[in-house]
């Protein structure tokens, strides 16, 4: 299309410069804050950060919730995506529409709905008490369980959509062929479906994991300050403690965790592929 590389690069230059000036440079300045001290550069701030028990706890909680949400989303997402892909085209469109619908509602409204549903007088507790599983209302709100449920509902559609597009690209005969050759359903999933849809899983997994790490509204409303996560801790450090060093450290941790998740998932996917 272009006569030479220079021409192509020249065309990309303005956009690249723009991105560098308004995005990369400010981010670099922000992140450098965590390494800058009065006498030069040092990682002392990071050592101090991780030596505080609260920070360790918040970091581990964020990682744990991110991983469990991603894992559970992958399991539910696979089942849902497979069911949707096998539907006739007209109902498939409707089902995809239903999956995407929650993404069009403001996260604030969705999260507030959970406050009603998970409350002491909410539908979940009413059901539990009617069935006789508990005598009194169980406390869900402002617990890790509530944050987990909120995050799962928030990001599950992203996983389903990624898996649907991966499953759609699957050769139509792959599953019947495996069955004919004597594979049971587990083998079909493990040896055929999973390797062929790994790209979708990597994309969906990265989106869900990164989303869970960086979500603010859901942990803030459903967890509150009793279930601090890195993102809510970051907000607290900036707006209350005015501690931009801690904030910059948390920001870098979040960025690194997102990158690490993506690289790791890709590794897992390609390792399986090369077998």
């Amino acid at each position: 299309m272009f006569q030479n590389r220079t021409e192509a690069l020249a065309l990309a230059l303005p956009a690249a410069l723009f991105a560098a000036i308004v995005f990369l440079v400010p981010v670099a300045i922000l992140l450098s804050e965590g390494f800058r001290t009065a006498d030069g550069w040092s990682i002392q701030a990071y050592i101090d950060f991780f030596s505080m028990p609260l920070n360790q706890k918040v970091f581990l909680r964020t990682l744990r919730l991110g991983l469990t949400v991603t894992f559970v989303a992958a399991i539910i997402g696979y089942a849902a995506a497979y069911a949707i892909v096998t539907l006739p085209p007209s109902s498939k469109g409707k089902m995809i529409g239903l999956v995407v619908l929650p993404l069009m509602i403001s996260p604030v409204a969705r999260t507030y709905a959970w406050i009603v549903i998970l409350g002491r007088t909410g539908i979940v507790n009413q059901a539990l008490m009617t069935v006789g599983l508990t005598d009194g209302p169980v406390r869900f709100l402002f617990t890790e369980t509530a944050v987990f449920i909120g995050l799962l509902q928030l990001f599950l559609p992203l996983m389903i959509i990624s898996l649907i597009s991966a499953l759609e690209n699957l050769p139509r005969d792959a599953v019947p062929a495996a069955r004919v050759l004597g594979a049971n359903w587990f083998q079909v999933f493990w040896k055929v479906l999973l390797p062929l849809t790994r790209e979708g899983l990597v994309i969906g997994g990265t989106l869900v994991f990164t989303g869970s790490l960086t979500a603010y509204i859901t942990p803030a409303i459903l967890g509150g300050s009793k279930v601090l996560m890195l993102e809510t801790l970051l907000y607290q450090q900036v707006t209350v403690a005015n501690n931009f060093v801690s904030a910059s450290i948390i920001a870098l941790i979040l960025i690194l965790m997102s990158f690490a998740a993506n690289i790791l998932l890709r590794r897992i996917a390609s390792a399986r592929n090369s077998k």
Binding site: L54, K57, I115, V116, A220, I221, G224, T239, V240
Partner: protein
């Protein structure tokens, strides 16, 4: 060619805009972002008509406001700002605000004593204050002391303000008083709250969230500022405003003038207007701000929904600004270490 024409047009436009600005006096204020529609009707528009000037309103939280004032220190953009008592002391320590020439405020003598010079440095004037006490369900419990909040049968139904909110430290201070400790380090009440942290429903950050929690019986009691009381009163639930034996605490918001502002006269004129009996009455009637002007008279219904009256003003046990400023980091660290986990 087109680009040239565009640039020319833009330059011409900015020149006319500059001219228009030069002809009109402008006052830039920085305020809390709540109830801006009411403030516009009651305060800004009438003032603009009176002075023939333009009021530019910037909103944001205290941290943003102070950061902006610090960044523009040599060439201030904001002429006057409102903030909490403690933040105004912080601004004074950073040399961002100036002494207020109170002889220029004709309404100054009408203010309650606690509003006149709250930090004792002559750099702030209170324009509204509020009491902080406990809203609770009268059919489920009785609250006679701040200490009642931590009782075994009450704590699992309490939303306590987070230490990071304006209500947090005063509520902890009163809890300390109930326990017999008057120390500003708040160690004793933080320890007591930490012991019950698993029971307490949540440590809230926004009082607006509490109305829903109260409505669905998630909580039955919570310490709140009086400014947040009105929506509770409308709930059709048996709710009351506690009068604990240790008294009520609260807070005050103050006006400050920026050091080096070029519109000092206009800023003082605006502050005087805001403190006038007429404007303070209107703001009280709209239930926006409780009046700091003691000449303000309001109906009983309004008085019940705001913080009103000389007796209330005198009885409030406010935490001194320097105590808040000097201990804020320690409170947060201690809270995070003991309660936050």
């Amino acid at each position: 060619m087109t680009l040239k024409a565009l640039l020319g047009a833009a330059a011409a436009l900015s020149m006319t805009a500059g001219l228009a600005q030069a002809q009109e006096k402008t006052l830039t204020i920085s305020v809390y972002s709540f109830a801006q529609d009411e403030f516009n009707e009651i305060l800004y528009k009438p003032f603009e008509e009176k002075c023939g000037c333009k009021v530019v309103v910037e909103t944001g939280n205290s941290v943003e406001r102070l950061a902006k004032m610090e960044a523009n220190k040599t060439n201030p953009v904001i002429d006057m700002a409102v903030m909490s008592m403690a933040d105004s002391l912080s601004a004074a320590r950073q040399d961002l605000i100036d002494t207020i020439d109170t002889s220029r405020l004709t309404n100054y003598d009408k203010l309650y004593d606690i509003a006149k010079d709250p930090n004792g440095d002559g750099k702030s004037v209170g324009y509204t204050f509020y009491s902080t006490s406990i809203v609770y369900r009268t059919d489920k419990m009785e609250i006679e002391s701040w200490g009642d909040l931590l009782k075994d049968d009450i704590a699992p139904h309490v939303a306590f303000p987070n230490v990071t909110t304006n209500q947090g430290p005063p509520a902890l201070y009163m809890l300390g008083k109930a326990m017999g400790s008057d120390s500003p380090d708040l160690t004793a009440p933080i320890d007591a709250v930490a012991e019950k942290a698993d029971d307490i429903v949540t440590f809230y950050v926004r009082s607006s969230q509490l109305v829903q929690l109260m409505q669905q019986e998630e909580i039955l009691a919570a310490p709140i500022g009086r400014f947040a009381w009105a929506p509770f009163a409308k709930l059709d639930l048996p709710l009351a405003w506690a009068t604990p034996k240790e008294g009520q605490t609260g807070g005050m918001n103050v006006m400050v003038v920026t050091k080096g502002s070029k519109n000092r006269d206009l800023a003082l004129e605006f502050m005087d207007f805001w403190l006038s009996t007429d404007i303070q009455t209107k703001l009280a009637e709209a239930m926006v701000d409780s009046p700091a002007n003691k000449d303000v008279k309001v109906s009983e219904e309004v008085a019940n929904n705001i913080t009103f009256g000389e007796d209330t003003a005198k009885s409030l046990k406010l935490l001194p600004s320097e105590v808040i400023l000097d201990h804020r980091d320690q409170w947060l660290a201690e809270w995070n270490a003991k309660v936050g986990q």
